[in-house]
Amino acid sequence: MKNSLNREVPFNPYQGIRTLEPRTFEVTKNVISGNKYRESLAELIKELNIKDGDALSFHHHLRNGDYVLNMVMEEVAKLGVKNLKVIASSLFAIHKPLVELFESGIVTEVYAAYMTGPVAKAISEGQLKGMCMLHSHGYRATMIQTGEVTVDFAFIASPACSMSGNVSGSEGPSNCGVLGYAIADAQYAKKVIAVTDYIVEPKDVEIKAEWVDYVVKVDKIGDPKGIVSGTTQITRDPVGLKIAKMTLELMKGSGLLKDGFSFQTGAGGISLAVAKDVFEYCKKEQVKGSFASGGTTSYLVNMLEAGIFEFIYDVQCFELDAVASISRNKNHKKMSAAQYADIYNPDNIVNRLDFVILGATEMDTDFNVNVTTGTDGVIMGGSGGHSDTAAGAKMAIIVSKLVSSRISVLTDKVTTITTTGETVDALVTDRGIAIHPRHQALIDHLKATTKLPIVDIHDLYQMALKLTGIPERVEHEQRVVALSQYRDGTLLDCVYQIKPE
């Protein structure tokens, strides 16, 4: 069947942006009594009675430094169970051992908001026997809260944990700052296992003991240095810096960059350059924002500490400086994924955003964005908070070079729709800015009041084609290996198995 974006999907097609009735969700866990503490992860795994088809969840706050998923799955693999679901908030290169469990049929389904490295490659190649669901950070919380997906066992890497199961992300040797993506798992999983390397009564409890069934101590839950995975440095590329400057001018021209504004940016090089330019502008013009949110970098922390923002609402830390800030800045607030972006929560943070600055691997002339697959069809990312923030923010701005390494960001049809064009407001490239045509008044205003190169997205696309020629489409197999979900659970697109090299 086709969805409203004209993409073939197997069920539950996306039908456009919906306003859902607000819903609240109650945590109805029984208070667990008795001794929860276990000395051995291996023994605990045997004790849990994990069965064929069960769903095991993990968070990714230690990002590429996470040891917990691998150590748990290594023990689970010894049980002889099959057809497990792994519900990981994200997967990184460090999770390569999971690929062997695809081959042996121990793991046959995967849910994630983002994946990169060998696991993503293996799924693209069709090594996972079942389906991979690629959703947003917000929908992960939603689907667990609503029961659309049941988590049988939530294994929570816990930087600091008491014997009774009070957990904090911002203490201990494996301090990762915040555990925003693990909260829904802890609240709604049938069994919750806190895996820790630091037993202590934490000061800032994020996961309450009453939600936790077991506490198990291991030597090390991860390497915090692995948190700094991906780009967290401002680009030095002059083209990227030019895009950042243009973005600041667009933000100024929109009229929203004023006292009380709110802002989120990713950790990409251009996005961080925008953050820096916004910082300098606010300092010079004495503009004071209300909050910055999202994955946190040192650049947002600098802005908080300089008084540019009153608060940071933080769902995950991208850098160790951001981790450290949580302990020293009382206005650096932790939040859960549901507080961040659950579609049923009308007060979620993404709905309160004025600006979000996002990247794109591909974008089409309908403003649909792909950050899930490369142009070769291989999974190399995923929504993360992309589709959540684009939908929530007043102005969702995509920043990208028009042509990079001879490949145009603009195409007639993106390989995979991650974020629907109905939620994207502008594309800023080095050769022009395209504003979504539904904002004709803004287009007219910007043309009249600024020197910004505002162009129709089709003209921008033609500019790119002049430089690159018309690229050939990469062919794929017919088998669907992953489904791209919108934040209401409907299906935006299919990811197809790649052809062998």
């Binding site: 002059p238 083209v239 810096l241 030019k242 042509v403 080095d430 050769r431 020197k451 430089l467």
Partner: protein, 288 residues
Amino acid sequence: MLRRTSLFIPGNNPAMLLSANILGADSVIFDLEDAVALNQKDSARMLVKKAITTFDFSGIEVLVRINPVSSPFWKDDLREIIEAEPDGLVIPKATKEDVIAIEALIEELEEKYNVSKKVSFLLIAESAYGVEMIAETLGCSKRITGVLLGAEDLTADMEVVRRVDGEEIDYARKRVVMACKAFRVQAMDTPYTDVDNFDGLLADTEKAKALGYTAKAVINPRQIDYVHQVFAPTHDEIDYALAILQEKERAFTEGIGVFSYQGKMVDQPIILRAEKIVAMARKLGLIT
């Protein structure tokens, strides 16, 4: 054409060639000389020619720095590049003899390729001899539109080290700018090589501007805005110039030949300067 900055771009770097027209410089110099290794001269020539003939560089000036006449490469550079019709050539270590030799070959090539556009010359004064003889060199071709002072090679030739305050090139700066003013061509200042020191860049550009330079070569795109900032007229300069021109109009209407403003006599050079400032401000969009 307005030329406050000329940005050097290595001729063998396709990505930078592609981005040349979006970085904000008034002109770009595709470099076939120092930025290109000896074994890449051929490919750089072909790449630069292809870039000029393929991409749309409208709105900026495209110059090509050829190899010096003392090298074995300059004739091949011209044979490849002239057909592409760049706006101009940048001639390193320029002397009168070099310029004459280059122009002679160019005239042959222009005829051969039926090129109607006369390529201009931006000379680099970067040897003690080149600086001392600059006035004589300027007089030898009508194609010359400016002189770029090349301080790195010059100080090497002078056997002195570069200094932060630029004292060692003070004489050369003054000699070059005076010759340029005499021949009504542009004086372009030497690049500032510490690409992360923007305060230093501003100070160095201010110093050059004070001597009469109207442009500065840049080696990193991040330097462009700083240089443009210096060469843009200030609000005070614009206000003063507008007031002078207004007074001039009033004096003309009233039939007064000579007038004063703020207690000072206004003569023709002041009026000409005011007109230049207002024209520049209009060009930069600072006034309508």
